[in-house]
Symmetry: C2
Subunit: 350 residues, 2 copies
DNA sequence: CTGTTAGCGCGTTCAC
DNA sequence: GTGAACGCGCTAACAG
């Protein structure tokens, strides 16, 4: 028998592992009120008289009471928590979006629960199933493609859901993001306008990251419409990095020495290429032009400064969180779909 | 009156907002067993006969049952969740550590709850108070300095706590990190060995980030012991960035043209400096040597490649999570303190 | 291996 | 403005 020996333990009460947490009942006793009054003093202070409020605050302080959020959650069918589900935590883009979300939600008293799927829809399904078990206030997930099960569950769930990063029809609920096809098209158009005709696209992870694929498709379509060779594509499957950018750069130059411009799937790759060009004395854009995507701060500090299509990633996170909060706070949610936009930053590398 | 009209609703039962979640009771009824058997089939399958397990699995599947983790948490006094509390989500270091933690914990079925303090101890205290309300399985926090309240609460809490990033005595429970003073000293020693004597330290956020200050102190002490001018310090209060690195570089050169080597507080700053040097045709290390800290992958791709003190950040996260898991799974926790180490990477910039 | 009973700590509901 | 009773959905403890 390992019954807890806490002095104030009500006899017969089950205690877990000898832990004695201060409960709302302890506070109530100390303050000479009913537990529910303590609850109200904490959650809706204006519904409690100043006299009691003071006594309760004092009791809370002396006892060091911390509300059991789990119990509160069970009773009120929900907790102030928002799961955020992203494909990867090693990709800076998602990190910056998470940062925006986290900062916004935490300021409103919500906690962020992190989940990552590795671009695997089954893992996403399992994750969503699991986190819904917490009865969170809402959910933020990445992209518009999900398993049928996830879509069904979330649609019938009745709480706010934001799908982010990508824009499109038929979303579950709310949607913030960019039009990836347009992003790819924008850079392709710019390259054509600059007079380049022999253009290649170089990227990573396009077999599992369909948003990366969409950007390539935007690029591809613009080139085709312009009547130039549009299928020059170099890709690796590893995650993007400076080193893969370097390799892609070298491979493309070797396979296709006549190339005039390189459209990289992101600034990391493009930076790797420029850094390698610097090292080898290859002139950019005279020998070969380079364009990127994202608008990483690094891109402004390279020589030459990188031309890129910038997307406000932190702000996208803030926007996703705001949409959710608007719903939660019952203000009318004006937009159910929000294009966060993208901007071509013409600099020196093209 | 908005009473739920679900057919199988027990009369008189209170329902929240018309939501009808499938409960363990529904599954039990469908499978013709007691609820506890369903619970066991899900949590400890080997304690349930195959016959029942099959029937239960089927019922779970057809009903689409998803366990209410909140209710389970209340009943069993804890949930599989680990709050991770860091100072900032805009600093890459913490992100990489979080990544390691998240990957490790998620693989063992734990969820990561994210909290950030902005280097503010009061916010940390409030956050810890708040997340303990979830009865999480353990907690990971940053650094060894906390409010008395936080330390007391966590010490008497009885569940595993890991303090990370920093190494030292008097921790709450377990501790993984690096010796920041040694990190600073290592680079300073290297610079001296290379023959540099006029050396400056350039950093950011040292007023609020005491770990940054510790690295400077390590640097300072080595220079003093060597009998060279040790108080050359340039600092900004904004967060580190390539641009601040660039500015610091320019300021130091202007204020002190005789400088031979610059010890930057991190690779971001150092990279900003090298990039600016590239642009201006300043030769590194011939005109001025540059050293960094962190071991960012970018540092290997710069020209010249950056000499830096590398710290395995991702691995530190993995290690923190592992320590926690070992405790949770009742394996003897061998080390209660773990030095994750640091490594001087001598490259071209010094 | 399976079931019964009794809460976990709180907030909702309804009465005062 | 305050309180009593009840139950949120699940699992620990104990018995069979």
């Amino acid at each position: 028998m390992t019954i807890a020996t806490e002095k104030s333990d009500t006899p017969g009460r089950r205690r877990h592992r000898g832990e004695h947490r201060v409960t709302i009942e302890d506070v109530a006793r100390q303050a000479g009120v009913a537990p529910i009054t303590v609850s109200r003093a904490l959650n809706t202070p204006d519904k409690v008289s100043l006299k009691f409020r003071k006594r309760i605050d004092l009791a809370v302080e002396t006892l060091g009471y911390v509300p059991n959020l789990i119990a509160g959650g069970l009773a009120s069918a929900g907790i102030r928590m928002i799961p955020v589900i992203v494909p990867s935590l090693s990709i800076l883009t998602y990190i910056e979006v998470i940062h925006g979300i986290q900062q916004t939600l935490e300021a409103s008293g919500y906690q962020v629960l992190l989940g990552s799927t590795d671009f695997n829809l089954e893992r996403e399904t399992a994750l969503v199933d699991s986190v819904l078990g917490y009865s969170p206030s809402g959910v933020i997930l990445t992209g518009l493609k999900h398993s049928d099960r996830t879509i069904r569950r979330l649609q019938s769930w009745g709480r706010p859901v934001v799908e982010m990063m990508e824009l499109g029809e038929g979303g579950i609920d709310m949607n913030v993001g960019v039009d990836n096809t347009q992003v790819g098209a924008t850079m392709a158009r710019h390259l054509l306008e600059r007079g380049y005709r022999r253009i290649a696209y170089l990227g990573t992870g396009m077999t599992h990251d369909y948003r990366a694929m969409q950007r390539y498709e935007g690029h591809h379509q613009i080139l085709r419409e312009a009547g130039v060779e549009s299928e020059r594509l170099f890709q690796h499957d590893e995650p993007s990095s400076y080193d893969i950018g370097r390799q892609l750069f070298l491979e493309a130059r070797e396979a296709c020495p006549e190339l005039e411009a390189l459209h990289f799937a992101n600034d990391n790759l493009a930076a790797g290429a420029i850094l390698e060009a610097n090292r080898r004395g290859i002139r950019v854009p005279e020998d070969i032009a380079i364009g990127g995507y994202l608008g990483l701060s690094l891109s402004e500090h390279l020589t030459p400064r990188l031309t890129t299509v910038a997307v406000p990633r932190f702000e996208m996170g803030v926007a996703a969180a705001r949409l959710l909060l608007m719903r939660l706070e019952e203000q009318a949610s004006i937009a159910t779909q929000l294009d966060i936009g993208h901007q071509l930053m013409v600099r020196e590398s093209t």
